[in-house]
Amino acid sequence: MTDPILSIRNLTVDLPKGGDRPHAVEGLSLEIMPKEIVCIVGESGSGKSITAFTTMGLLPKALVPSSGEITFDGRDLLKLTPAEHSKLRGRRMAMIFQEPMSALNPCYTVGNQIEEMFEQHTSLPAAERRARTIRLLDEVKLPDPERIYSSYPHQLSGGQRQRIVIAMALALDPALLIADEPTTALDLSTQAQILHLLKELREKHSAGIMFVTHDFDVVAEIADRVVVMQHGRIVEQGSAEEVLNRPRHPYTRLLIDAVPRRTRVARDSLEGSAEMLRVAGLEKTYHVKGSMFRPGRTVHACKDVGFAVRRGETLGIVGESGSGKSTLVKCLIRLEDPDAGQVWVEGEDIAAYSRRALHPYRKMIQIVFQDPYGSLNPRRTIGDQLVEGPVNFGGDRAEAMARARELMKIVRLDPDALNRYPNQFSGGQRQRICIARALMVEPKVLIADEAVSALDVSVQKEVLKLLNEIRDRMGLTVLFITHDLRVAAQVCDNLIVMQQGEIVERGSVDQVFGTPSHAYTQKLLAAQPGQDWEVPDVSKLPPATGVMGMGGLA
């Protein structure tokens, strides 16, 4: 067996005093072999990124590794001076980041930024540097490398930028590649391409890859070995096959159990249920104004969108970014005025109503937004924000407060929370509050606009469960907007798939997933990572073993 490229032993990184725990990472040990992809999985705050950054020597100043060693190239990285560590970076170890949109300097061409690698670490002549840069661009499968070479980052798409970052990382053929959630910010199809690229590169280069992610599908797609982290510690590690299918630690099991199934929970038929919302011929066009140096352009965000939803139904609206689903939502709740078309709610077409005429219908359609941090006013108490709706519609404040208490219980929060401010709640709690707020006015239709996308899997599961419960209990109609096919599959009755402002596919979940008719849907489905992995039924596994330390390696 060859020697590991990277070997971390007993690493502990301290958090500054006053945090909720003393260490960001504690007693961490792991190894990465050449040509091996090791996935570090964990929810936010588990310390997985910190491990990556410690290895790269890019920790913020507030965080200090206090013990342990990181052996790389026969040297302990923790003992290196910053300058020595800097020499290793880029040449021997390289990193790919989560946000391709901001990972490149907007002021320089991407060619220049890749060439910098050669400038810094080699003494190649300019022509050679350029030639190698072009070759790299070709290797990461960017079309027309010459043009890309002299492009600025903002002229490229997110996927293209991520390829640039990868090209940059590969420039000097490093022994270790660290990828920190490299596909999280990308569309499904782009993600598939990037994952494919990484797998291919592993074959061509001999690098070992540390791949940090929160997504078990991605793990299933790419990992050779898996390390599961919780609260700064490793709870389980082993081969991908082992961890994914036969997780031993309760926490791993919890995480895997929370992964939405691709199959829908069976529900009563909706046949005969009344139509709640009908949208017909909805059109919306944006004119993006030009600036001094850029011409304006027109975006057709919704083209002849039409669908109907019954009472009690959950309709999933699926699409990648830019597909027009957000615009559709805005038109439905009339934050935007549609250019044409009708929106029928209980027999009234509210699409063209004036603001005043609209007022009584506002409460029919309510919404839960994506960002749990932006959707509550930080300067008002939860209670104040909850009673806002009923009071606006002429309700009595005390009565509304009583209902708010009721709803807090329904969303499983302490009614005392009404006196607190949003910053005192976690993301999942906030989403529950948002749901409660929406329910305050007893809406007929609830729109969940990517309502669980920003949450960790375990929290996500809870919120989804809550949504389903409430739907059934209150007979709500739900429009579930998401980019996540797994989630859509699990909670929706019917689906529509949008692409560039148009509905390209519609049908029941089984129809859409089973026999997609439109090429785009097919492509989208094919792009899902980890399709070969069937999420195991955790309840059928043998009893969990306790906390494991180094056992996995032995």
């Binding site: 290793l88 880029g90 990193m95 901001s102 907007p106 002021c107 910098e116 030009g290 001094m292």
Partner: protein, 305 residues
Amino acid sequence: MLLYILKRLGLAVLVALTVSALSFSLLFMAGDPAISIAGENAAAEDIAAITERYGFDRPVLVQYADWLVSAARGDLGRSWYFDLPTTEIIGDRLGVTMTLGLLAICFALLLAIPMGVAAAVKPNSLIDRAALFISVVGQAIPSFWFGLILIVVFSIKLGLVPASGSSSWKHFILPTVVLGYYATPAIMRLTRAGMLEVLSADYIRTARAKGLAPRKVLFKHALRNAIIPVISLAAVQMGFMLGGSIVVESIFALHGAGYLAWESISRNDLPVMQALILVFSMFYILFTFLADVLNAWMDPRLRVG
């Protein structure tokens, strides 16, 4: 592109027109200009004659239209006091003000940018505190008072530089310091804040992950981005400074446009005041326009669509 420049220019003209209309109505609303022209020792009959000669008995609107028409031809009227074309008088004085403005902005940039950068690189360090001190003091110190103190110390006590006038480069030292210091805090703060923001940007992390030397990360990647808003602020500040050099010019007896403005105010020389307000606002407009162009030139996101 050309269309946008034209649009921008159209807007600039509109702004200038509004400013001139506002100032015209403001200035001519108060006081009988004839008396101003006649001067302190003039007798009654002189004043009557002047009122007739200049047509001050006509409605203000007519007078403004008149002014506008000749302004369009580049004639901003004659100074009542000097009885010379205002354009000639202002042109004569503008050199000093421009020199002062340029020197001051250079002084401000040379002081503010290095300190702002150093402060951002090492927050809460000694240099950060020094920078903070300089900027806090700069904001709080009244420039007229600061100017007087500098005269007392450097000119009288130490005899290093002349106290007033504009005949040699030495004369510009103190005014430059005073005026430049006035613009320093804003620039320094923006540099510091911009650098802090940029330094925590993802692409700086990328640059560091590439193993680039710290200096290269700092100057090539960080400063280049942080400097963009600073440049446009500096341009705007320059516009402000030209208009705000009145105090400094009057303290140091620099015969620039600012001093002319002050004198014209005390002489009630409305055509000169009116023209100066226009000229200063034109400068502001010009500088903001230049700032936009410069911004676009420095920031490819704006330049390349």
